[in-house]
């Protein structure tokens, strides 16, 4: 046993050394640095910390774009966090990033009303800060308090995203046939703006299409933290089911609701397509009932599988979803911090002199062919946000750039424009 322990010790020591060496040597390849990648670099060298909320296809794609495409061209280095799921972990990463010499923080974890605390923390270390989020009553103070290190935020155009779902339901729903709807409102009850907009638009679409009146307001239904029947005067079965799949018992509750046989539409305001797929398939099989799935999604294996598979009735497993181009969103975030770091903070301010929020529009996808086409665009060899586009958001490369002009440039990068360039 002693021999075993000593042997184990040696193996562990060798393994540890190898890992540390691998980790250290991997740094230049995972964190972009000046001159690598064969691109000529220009601009001052900056180190930027990126707070990731989850590790998935999107975050991997984002890291590739930042490290392999942006870093060499703009002479920047990027440092990525582990998964940060609360304010404390964000603060810890910011502190560690400061120790590691970062000049700015891009935060993909929307902390909402705690934005100010992170801006203040970054200010203590002299770092610029931007966040994937909007401007609302909870974080209004950070926009009006003139923090020199706050570059403003970036996020999806939430009403436009919600409208995609409204429009699709309007186009595809046959109201002459009896339907029941389960609406997965996600974290809307916690104030998640995107999930609130999508849930609200879904309920509004049903209201308008059936000409019904809810007993409660749509705002109340969406904000409910407990499952609630959206009782209405037309007797349409609509069930709002909040929460996330990571919550204990959530999936079981969703499955139980479907097993009542009342619902044949699953309207999902947050990205849980792969998590609900099995439950839906089981109920379809058990009740011999076709369930149509419309839900928020993102590029990746989950959506590709869902779009390319059919249920027992021969229909697409997911009828409609939404996607965004990772590099487009990343370009917005990068432009925010880069403009501040290069002394062009004015380009991050709106007409009132307050930090602006840059918006991007998501795209609807309804077929596997369309998904395949769009998936092929935002990849290593042909990024949606190429150097020309990134330059159009940077004040030191686009003379007289304002935030409004940057916003126009972002909106111009839509499906048609991308198809014309990359299609």
């Amino acid at each position: 046993m002693k021999m075993n322990k000593r042997f184990g010790l040696k193996v562990a020591s060798v393994g540890l050394s190898a890992l540390i060496l691998a980790g250290c040597s991997s740094a230049p390849s995972t964190s972009g640095s000046s001159g690598s990648g064969g691109e000529s670099s220009d601009g001052d060298g900056y180190k930027i910390g990126v707070i990731e909320v989850q590790l998935n296809d999107e975050s991997t794609n984002r890291a590739t774009w930042f490290n392999d495409y942006i870093a060499p061209k703009y002479n920047c280095e990027f440092m990525f966090s582990e998964t940060c799921s609360d304010l404390d972990s964000c603060m810890t990463f910011i502190e560690n990033a400061a120790m590691a010499g970062c000049d700015a923080i891009i935060n993909y974890y929307a902390v909402g009303s705690d934005t100010e605390a992170l801006v203040q923390l970054c200010a203590e270390y002299g770092m610029v800060y931007t966040e994937n989020g909007g401007r609302n009553a909870a974080n209004e103070a950070v926009f009006t308090s003139n923090y020199e290190n706050f570059a403003g935020n970036f996020q999806a155009d939430q009403p436009a995203t919600g409208k995609l779902f409204y429009d699709y339901l309007e186009e595809s729903l046959d109201t002459s046939v009896e339907h029941g709807f389960i609406v997965l409102t996600g974290n809307a009850y916690q104030g998640n703006a995107q999930q609130t907009e999508i849930s609200s638009n879904m309920l509004s679409a049903l209201q308008d299409l059936y000409g019904l009146t809810y007993e409660s307001t749509i705002a109340d239904l969406v904000a409910s933290s407990a499952p609630i029947e959206a009782t209405n005067d037309k007797g349409i079965e609509i069930y709002c089911y909040p929460g996330a799949y990571s919550t204990s018992g959530w999936l079981e509750g969703f499955s139980a609701a479907l097993q009542t046989g009342k619902y044949d539409y699953s309207l999902q305001a947050y990205n849980c397509l792969s998590n609900t797929a099995t439950a839906i398939e089981e109920v379809e099989s058990a009740l011999n009932k076709d369930i149509t799935v419309i839900g928020f999604g993102s590029f990746g294996e989950a959506l590709t599988t869902a779009m390319n598979s059919t249920d027992m009735f021969g229909n697409q497993s997911v009828s409609m979803s939404t996607v965004k181009f990772t590099s487009l969103v990343s370009a917005m975030a990068f432009s925010k911090v880069y403009n501040c770091l290069t002394g062009n903070r004015d380009a991050c301010l709106d007409e009132n002199g307050e930090p602006s929020v840059l918006l991007f529009q998501m795209e609807a996808v309804t077929s596997p062919e369309q998904l395949a086409e769009m998936s092929s665009w935002d990849t290593t060899d042909k990024w949606v946000a190429d150097y020309d586009f990134v330059d159009s958001l940077l004040a030191d490369r686009t003379e007289g750039l304002t935030s409004a002009q940057a916003q126009e440039n972002i909106y111009a990068m839509n499906y048609d424009a991308i198809k014309a360039r990359l299609g």
Partner: protein
């Protein structure tokens, strides 16, 4: 004849192998403290060398302490419970709910002293709830913890709602200096003395080592359990105060998952979560600092986040491996 050969055997000087010598060192009383500290020192020196001395800058050291405070305080607190051979991993949720109580009190009174008092009392009261369930219903603390985690988490969600409860930033930052260091040192010293220099600590360790024997020697295990939970409650409440003044807001997810961090810190610090005679009250703090040193050091070296998880995992395994006794018999509380 046989007597002569027996004499000959006794005259032979004992030959100790390296493994025997290591075993002797490991059985020394100082070893449980010295080993984790030595490992921590090795890591600090390693990172200091690899970062060209940057790792020893004042701001980095301060940063490491700041990040270790909360888990370190909680780990110090739960040492009282772990010593008795019981596990309570609901401490993260207890801290979270205590934070919510404190933040709500601040919302009403806008007084930091009130926030601190309510958080502290909340921590103690909630730990006493756990204790009461254990004693009154004769349920193991681990089982109570499972239920308590769900209840406290649900209460946090209901009480906080969509938006976190804010606490004044400037007032919070003012408390991060002297107040935080002072209260922590005071609490830690009190725990150290109580645990290692009074009958309270000895009884708790005795119960963890062999509860039946402890009962037969006249130790009141119920009373000891209450004492353990009260001291744990004070520490958890204090950690709640530190959490609130660090983040200056309390969200509904506060403290969730922290119970596991506390357990990890305790094990890394060289203490068995199954208690026993070798338990100590400082293991959690050392473990918490070790975790933070690793995270900060690896990031400063430019190790990518995905690699950090792997490197950290291997180092944790190695530390636990080196600091643990392999079982020669069936598991008991005295062994890992």
């Amino acid at each position: 004849m046989s007597a002569a050969s027996g004499m000959a055997i006794q005259k032979q000087s004992p030959k100790l192998t390296l493994a025997d010598r290591i075993d002797i060192i490991k059985n020394k009383r100082f070893f449980p403290l010295a080993f984790p500290l030595a490992m921590l020192a090795v890591l600090v020196v390693l990172f200091a060398v690899l970062t060209g001395g940057q790792f020893l800058q004042g701001s980095v050291v301060k940063n490491i302490f700041n990040q270790s405070f909360i888990v370190g305080t909680m780990a110090t607190a739960v040492a009282f419970i772990y010593s008795t051979g019981n596990i309570d991993f609901s401490v993260g949720n207890v801290m979270g709910l205590a934070c919510v109580f404190g933040a709500l009190a601040y919302e009403v009174t806008e007084s930091m002293p009130v926030m601190i008092a309510v958080t502290l009392v909340g921590g103690i009261a909630l730990m006493m709830c756990n204790c009461t369930l254990c004693i009154a219903c004769h349920i193991k603390p681990a089982m109570v913890a499972i239920v308590a985690m769900s209840i406290y988490s649900a209460l946090c969600t209901v009480l906080v709602g969509a938006d976190p409860i804010r606490v004044d930033y400037q007032a919070s930052k003012a408390l991060e200096g002297g107040f935080r260091y002072g209260t922590f040192i005071l609490y830690f010293l009190v725990c150290l003395i109580l645990y290692h220099r009074t009958a309270i600590g000895r009884k708790l360790r005795f119960i963890g080592g062999n509860e039946t024997c402890a009962v037969q020697t006249g130790i009141n295990t119920t009373k000891a359990q209450i004492i353990a939970f009260v001291f744990a409650g004070v520490g958890v409440g204090l950690a709640g105060v530190y959490q609130t003044i660090r983040t200056t807001s309390v969200a509904q997810t506060v403290g969730s998952g922290m119970g596991m961090d506390v357990m990890l810190a305790t094990v890394l610090g060289g203490m068995s979560i199954f208690g026993g005679t070798k338990s100590n009250v400082y293991a959690g703090l050392i473990g918490a600092i070790t975790v933070t040193v690793l995270n900060t050091g690896l990031l400063m070296l430019g190790v990518s986040s995905t690699m950090i998880q792997g490197v950290r995992g291997v180092i944790f395994l190695l530390l636990v491996f080196l600091n643990s006794e392999r079982q020669k018999t069936l598991p008991s509380r005295q062994q890992f």
